[in-house]
Symmetry: C2
Subunit: 347 residues, 2 copies
């Protein structure tokens, strides 16, 4: 048997919107090296930047592992937009330039997120960061997907969806069409704008300044205002309604893929899903009700899941023992590498 | 007294998103020439294209009038985004190239729309086409404006707002998150897509095709689907809800500027406002309730109003007689020029 068959180490990469994380792990689930680089979501950052982030994170993880590079194979990349139309060659070429064999497999970020929470091969997953999407996983594959239709056409309850509603509510309030809200002061302050009584062209000056500032952002950049809604919810009725509606929408997205006859946990990922679950009980109620009494596992990102998928691809069975070792050994190296895990809803 | 003071003819131009219209009128309100050119909304079409459309429409109207070009002054252009920041020089240069004197004034399209309905100098106006905006007019000036905040941040109840909801409702329906709706067949047919039972990556093939097609449009292009909601409303509950919500939103925009102590008519313009008023009574109810028992005047566009503003700028008083003559003489020349008035909600 050649080297390729006796695989002992694989490289797992989770390319996300805020950062890209990589880990070299061995067949027992032991993490030997960890690396972090910039945003690597090909949909929001562009494919070229994603490839660079993947290569940067890979180099750091491989260097830290001190493993002989030709013994690390395959590489499993978890990425948004994974599918038959996605090019693998540019990534393979960058991995070869790092001394790896270039055997690369790209899987859906959603599948990796699910497997970051469990070694079981069936269950469901809800991820809400900048976007929102849910899936039913059956026998290790995406069986049924709900939402993930992007900022313009879907992503209900996501960070973009919430931030967009925050911006519209403040514009309507300044305009006299909507109720007053604590979000106005929070949003103007976030953008370093003043709320003045001055009026121009029949409108409040602050509204015109706000509109100018917001149209300069990419639409999806409105997701940065989602935390304002979570900050004000519980006190401000407008903010509470936005967060309650988001929790209801996320519950609807999850319910569209749930099958209560099937076994398996519900894995929850993304900063917005976590914030929605941590919101005051009255606000988080719809989402908690959708989760019911089932086992719910919250995960940080898809890196452990990418490792699970990479090990499986190498023919290694990932049982509870291997999975626990992944959890126990990826965490400390991640913490040693410093910040980079998602704390803002920009993933 | 020089030629400039004895002004007998002015040039009025209404630069809209679907077309740009121009008219040469004399001091009695008689329309001597009419011209129509392409879209001239500087916000949606770009400033350069708007200037070209203005010049094209102007040349046609001036040629048809057979008036000595040096006797036509001033030129009044009604345009979205009019304000102190808008450049007048490029338009003046194009007018000089046509043999005019280059004396040009740019006014808000909203003010021209109001004056297309009345020679009175106070009242209110609601315009809903691709966008939506309302204003209170006091002593011939925009006194208070509501909405007009654009597709991302406002324009509630507009053609974009309706078309966006149509698209999101169909995506949600295909995705299993939303109720079934007659809009699905209408939207897929409009985009020449098929509703097949085929599934890919855990999703219906038709949903993936639809998302691909819709993200290829400019966001504001979703306004072209607004007519589907009007077509299906009354029968389809999803479509009826969208149109009812739009009518409520437009009522809110108008109510934010109304002052029932003030005299003056309510002028209504734009294809979407007209369609909302023509919707089944149960659906149009919120808008009809907001209009109450006041005098409501529906207008086609802002051309007659641009002429009113241009004549006033030339020191000519526009009384009921002059206004009636404008209405009676612009119409026939417009009809003789053929289609170009807005029948689709893309203005």
């Amino acid at each position: 048997m050649g080297e390729r068959v006796r695989v002992q180490r694989i490289l797992a990469i989770d390319a996300g919107g805020t950062s890209t994380r990589a880990a070299v792990v061995d067949a027992s689930g032991l993490c030997l090296g960890y690396g972090i680089a910039g945003g690597g979501n090909p949909v929001s950052d562009g494919y070229d930047q994603a490839v660079t982030a993947v290569a940067d994170a890979a180099e750091k993880a491989v260097a830290e592992s001190r493993a002989a590079r030709h013994t690390i194979s395959p590489t499993l990349v978890a990425m948004a937009g994974a599918g038959p139309r996605m090019q693998q060659t540019p990534i393979a070429e960058r991995l070869v330039a790092l001394g790896l064999d270039g055997d690369v497999d790209i899987e859906a970020d959603l599948l990796a997120m699910f497997h970051s929470g469990t070694h079981q091969s069936s269950g469901s997953v809800l991820v809400a960061g900048t976007g929102s999407v849910a899936a039913r996983i059956t026998a290790g594959r995406l069986d049924l997907v709900s939402d993930g239709a992007g900022w313009l056409l879907g992503d209900t309850g996501s960070g973009y969806w919430i931030g967009h509603r925050v911006a519209r509510a403040v514009v309507a309030s300044l305009d006299g069409r909507g109720p007053g809200t604590a979000l106005t002061a929070l949003l103007l302050s976030e953008l370093h704008l003043e709320e003045t009584p001055e009026r121009m062209h029949g409108r409040p000056r602050a509204m015109l300044d706000l509109i100018d500032a917001l149209y300069k952002l990419r639409p999806v950049g409105l997701s940065r205002f989602a935390p304002l809604a979570f900050k004000a919810c519980g006190q401000d009725p407008v903010a509470s309604q936005i967060v309650t509606d988001a929790a209801s929408a996320l519950a609807g997205t999850l319910n569209a893929v749930r099958d209560h006859r099937l076994q398996g946990p519900v894995v929850i990922g993304g900063s917005v899903a976590r914030a929605a679950l941590a919101a005051p009980p009255a606000v988080a109620a719809p989402l908690r009700a959708a989760l019911g009494s089932e086992e719910v596992i919250q995960v940080e990102d898809g890196l452990i899941g990418a490792a699970v998928l990479g090990l499986r691809r190498a023919g290694i069975q990932v049982d509870q023992e291997v999975f626990r070792r992944l959890q126990q050994t990826v965490g400390p190296l991640r913490e040693a590498a410093g910040p980079g895990t998602k704390t803002q809803p920009t993933t």
